[in-house]
């Protein structure tokens, strides 16, 4: 295997354009109804380096173009279509849903949304699937837009990492979000999404009330969006070592929040929205990476459309072009670069920057290490979360917002307890077409599993107390077990100065910095990049017997992320030879294991004080194992600056006419997960249709 020092990997095998058929589908040719005069009237004196865009040959023309078919994009597409617009979604992946599809579907809204009201009244859903009582007390569900707004701008909340998740939120943006939460919940319900009982609140959704709900299907004889049923095979529960093309991640038991026979996760949110969008006539151009937003002039005038290039994803096993789960509404376009004109507006919903190590370095230089991916990397492919919206926005003069807010969400990046796979964030199994890209599902050892091995860096040295390595401070959430605020829920007093008094912050502070130690410089960090390199869990056969870890396919595989050998020396050699980001030999590994075994004998670990946290076990019984430990960059909070209508703003605070953005593409709102993206999509879809071209 060739060594790579950067992340220019492209899973796409070479393809021959000439063999591909070109389809003429809704092709419109030149711009209609757009004169050169109007294009130039807002002329810009800086335009000499880039000519104005009057002569572009448009390949397609629609009212609204949406870059990205995830939670913000699909919601925006349906909303714009409902309001009468023609809509085209371009997405770099072979299928829709983005990260929503592999999510847990925890959708935190509030402000008195219809699911809160339903649960206050203890009612079932309209189809009568829900047979369990409300999971939260009515008092914990009584919510208003004003309370929600107060909660998510509450300067006084400091989380267990001593960061402030809410105080930097953009007020106009989050006020609009709060006002649109109830309508968005209803909108999702109207598009086949079924919500379980509300239970708690997702991080960043405010501390005073319970606002989060997951999405469900009922197990049944066939998978039917309209009926709300899914087969056990499609849900991934018929065989725990197999998931489906429909739901890449195994669905969770929802009996406690719905009733017997219910299952929940992102497939029960993403697939219904996709189904509805296709039913309503949204067009989808998949395998197409959105590259640039085209503006009349480089930094002035309206947004005219986008350019996008062909980004085919080929099946990891047979090399064929991958196919989306549903086909209706797909536009099969295989030319290299095309231009699509937007008569009304462009919505950027192509996600964040978590998969782009160069952009990540803006926030944390050590995270430029390409060995560490973003979440869901097998599903999304090499272009997922690649900062495309941020990059394209900057090129037409957009401003950025919330650039420090990646740091103030405690799990933006974390060490995953799933070992032995690069794609350490999901439970996707064989049966999903992209499983081959991850090769192994990984072994989820939990935080306590870190007691059973030593963790070493790229030169084979221990670098931190293993037991504390994966510790994650909990986000400030209600009513989480240690919710990061004084009291919980109803006891939380918003805007109270005592919430952030020094004594309280000291008491709850629980960040161990293991991740930062994992990214530290070491003897293998060489100029000019000083990469910290991969990290490895090293253990022996005794550990396997103590824990019952299933060290076999599909949990591990011969994919460069797990190794097994009869001696430590051989193990070190195998890692050095077989792992794509292992740039130097693990020259200290043998010595490190010997030293560790002496520490175990002595009952004392003078380097990292392991004896304080858990019993220590020798590493002596072959075979010996090495499993990759992954740092995962999950969320993006810094991004394009938008106003309450999701319109992108330039550096002077002026609206860039015709350009909208939502979800992880935007900054200024430190809210984790889906609740943000759906409302952004709903707002953007609403206003994007009203926008009229010059």
């Amino acid at each position: 295997m060739t060594k790579k020092n950067d992340d220019t990997r492209d899973e796409t095998k070479s393809h021959d354009d000439k063999t591909l058929s070109r389809r003429d589908f809704v092709k419109t040719g030149a711009v209609a109804g757009l004169g050169a005069t109007s294009l130039l009237e807002s002329g810009n004196t800086n335009a000499q380096s880039s000519p104005s865009n009057e002569n572009i040959q448009w390949d397609y023309e629609v009212d609204v173009i949406i870059a990205g078919g995830g939670c913000a994009g699909l919601t925006a597409a349906i909303r714009a279509r409902d309001l009468g617009a023609s809509v085209m979604v371009v997405d770099q992946n072979y299928d829709l849903g983005g990260r929503m599809l592999h999510s847990g579907s925890f959708t935190s809204l509030g402000g008195g949304d219809p699911v809160q009201v339903r649960d206050i009244n203890g009612e079932s859903d309209t189809e009568g699937f829900i047979t369990v009582p409300s999971a939260e007390d009515p008092k914990e569900l009584e919510d208003t837009i004003d309370l929600l707004f107060t909660d998510i701008t509450d300067w006084s909340v400091v989380d267990p990492k001593a960061q402030s998740p809410y105080r930097y939120n953009d007020r106009g943006l989050v006020r609009a979000w709060a006002e649109n939460c109830p309508a968005t919940r209803q909108f999702l319900i109207d598009n086949y999404v079924r919500f379980a009982r509300i239970s708690g609140t997702h991080g960043g959704g405010g501390l005073s009330r319970a606002r989060g709900s997951r999405c469900f299907f009922m197990l049944g004889e066939k998978t039917d969006i309209k009926a709300g049923t899914i087969t056990p095979e499609d849900a991934g529960v018929a065989d725990y070592e197999r998931t489906s093309a429909f739901a890449p991640v195994q669905m969770m038991d929802a009996s406690r929040l719905v009733g017997p026979g219910a299952v929940m996760n992102g497939a029960a949110l993403s697939r219904p929205l996709e189904y509805s969008a296709r039913e309503k006539g949204v067009q989808f151009m998949l395998h197409r990476h959105f590259d640039e937003v085209i503006r009349e002039n480089p930094f002035s005038g309206r947004i005219l459309g986008v350019s996008a290039h062909y980004s085919p994803r080929q099946h990891p096993d047979n090399g064929e072009l991958m196919q989306s789960y549903w086909q209706n509404g797909n536009v099969d376009e295989r030319r290299q670069t095309i231009h699509i004109r937007a008569r009304r507006s462009v919505i950027l919903a192509s996600g964040g920057h978590a998969g782009n190590p160069e952009v990540r370095s803006m926030f944390y230089p050590a995270m430029r290490e390409p060995a560490f991916p973003t979440s869901g990397v097998a599903l999304q492919g090499p272009h997922g979360q690649d900062a495309s919206a941020l990059i394209a926005g900057l090129k037409v003069g957009a401003n950025l917002a919330g650039m420090q807010q990646n740091i103030s969400y405690p799990t933006t990046f974390h060490i995953a307890p799933r070992l032995g796979t690069r794609d350490a964030y999901t439970t996707m199994m064989p049966g999903h077409p992209t499983f081959g890209f991850r090769g192994s599902a990984g072994i989820n050892v939990g935080s306590v599993g870190f007691e059973e091995f030593i963790a070493v860096n790229q030169v084979g040295k221990r670098f931190f107390n293993e037991v504390r390595l994966p510790a994650r401070p909990s986000p400030s959430r209600y009513p989480g077990a240690d919710g990061g605020s004084p009291g919980r829920g109803l006891d939380h007093k918003p805007l109270d100065w005592r919430n952030c008094r020094k004594e309280w912050v000291r008491e709850m502070y629980n960040y161990d910095h293991g991740l930062d130690a994992a990214l530290a410089l070491n003897e293998g960090s060489e100029a000019p990049d000083y990469y910290s390199g991969p990290i490895w869990a090293i253990f022996d056969q005794d550990a396997v017997e103590r824990t019952g870890w299933e060290v076999r396919y599909p949990y591990i595989a011969d994919n460069g992320y797990s190794f097994k050998a009869d001696s430590i020396e051989e193990l070190a050699q195998k890692i050095a030879k077989g792992h794509e980001f292992q740039r130097v030999p693990l020259k200290y590994l043998t010595e490190t294991v010997e030293t560790w075994n002496r520490y175990v004998d002595a009952g004392k670990d003078p380097e990292f004080e392991r004896e304080v946290d858990a019993p220590m076990n020798q590493i002596v019984k072959p075979p010996f194992y090495a499993l990759s430990i992954m740092v995962i960059w999950h969320d993006s909070y810094g991004g394009l600056r938008v106003n309450g209508r999701q319109q992108v703003l330039d550096m002077r605070g002026q609206v860039i006419p015709g350009l909208y953005a939502g979800g992880e593409a935007v900054g200024g709102f430190n809210k984790h997960g889906l609740g943000k993206g759906h409302v952004h999509g709903y707002i953007a879809g609403t206003h994007a249709v009203e926008d009229v071209s010059a």
Partner: protein
């Protein structure tokens, strides 16, 4: 005294001989501290702070002035607190002395004679059993598995190893195998039952019935490899207090 040695040796991994010698030299207060740390800190904390309102604070608790009440509660349980029928009069005296005088407390010594006279007339305990004696049935464990999957599994993981499938969720305590035993060895099923009943599920404690909780515990025992028996485990704390969680022999 023999019983105390047995309990402590299994918990602290000391040899019986050296333990006996050590105990002989130990003050009543120090013996009480060891018994406290082995049996009480799970809920009342090493600092005696408890975790109100669920677990009573012992430090600064004026009710400890009543020695009879302490002795009775330890022997037969009280409310959510399980009974500790395995402790004899010597051990109860030591434990009561410890909690009455530890931290900022100063309520005075409790003598063995005081304990013996308080316990006089109490029905003598049944024999102490182990989780390895076949204390649940297969059908019960199967019922427990269904409940576990819906109520517990999302946080404690499908393999009961404390690793939730949802990667956004942090890890939780394992409920089976070596790592579970490390925390629970030497405690009774009554302690496990009461602790679980008042704290779980953490977002909605006491939402299961007693019968459901005991079924889940049966499932946990089955995953831990403890053998099935002919009778179901009953949610009766006096019975559960006489079944100890132990390593397999």
């Amino acid at each position: 005294m023999k019983k105390l040695i047995g309990i402590l040796s299994s918990i602290l991994f000391f040899s019986v001989a050296s333990q006996a010698q050590e105990l002989a030299n130990m003050s009543q207060f120090e013996q009480g501290q060891q018994i406290y740390q082995a049996n009480c800190t799970l809920c009342h904390m090493d600092s005696g702070s408890g975790s109100p309102p669920i677990f009573l604070a012992l430090n600064g608790n004026e009710q400890l002035a009543d020695a009879t009440r302490i002795i009775t509660n330890i022997k037969q349980g009280s409310g959510a607190m399980p009974a500790f029928p395995g402790l004899d009069a010597d051990e109860i005296a030591a434990l009561a002395t410890y909690i009455r005088n530890a931290w900022t407390n100063s309520f005075g010594e409790v003598t063995v004679a005081e304990v013996t006279s308080t316990l006089d007339g109490f029905e003598e305990g049944l024999k102490i059993a182990s989780v390895w004696d076949g204390v649940y049935t297969e059908a019960q464990a199967q019922r427990g598995q269904i409940l576990y999957s819906g109520t517990c599994g999302s946080c404690h993981g499908r393999r009961l190893n404390g690793a939730p499938e949802d990667p956004d969720m942090g890890s939780t305590p394992p409920l089976a195998r070596a790592r579970f035993l490390r925390v629970w060895e030497g405690r009774s099923l009554a302690t496990l039952f009461e602790y679980t009943r008042v704290t779980m599920p953490s977002d909605n404690p006491t939402s299961l019935t007693d019968e459901e909780f005991i079924d889940v515990i049966a499932y946990m025992l089955s995953v831990g490899g403890m053998p099935i028996g002919t009778n179901e485990l009953e949610p009766d704390t006096q019975t559960l207090a006489r079944i100890l969680i132990q390593q397999s022999q």
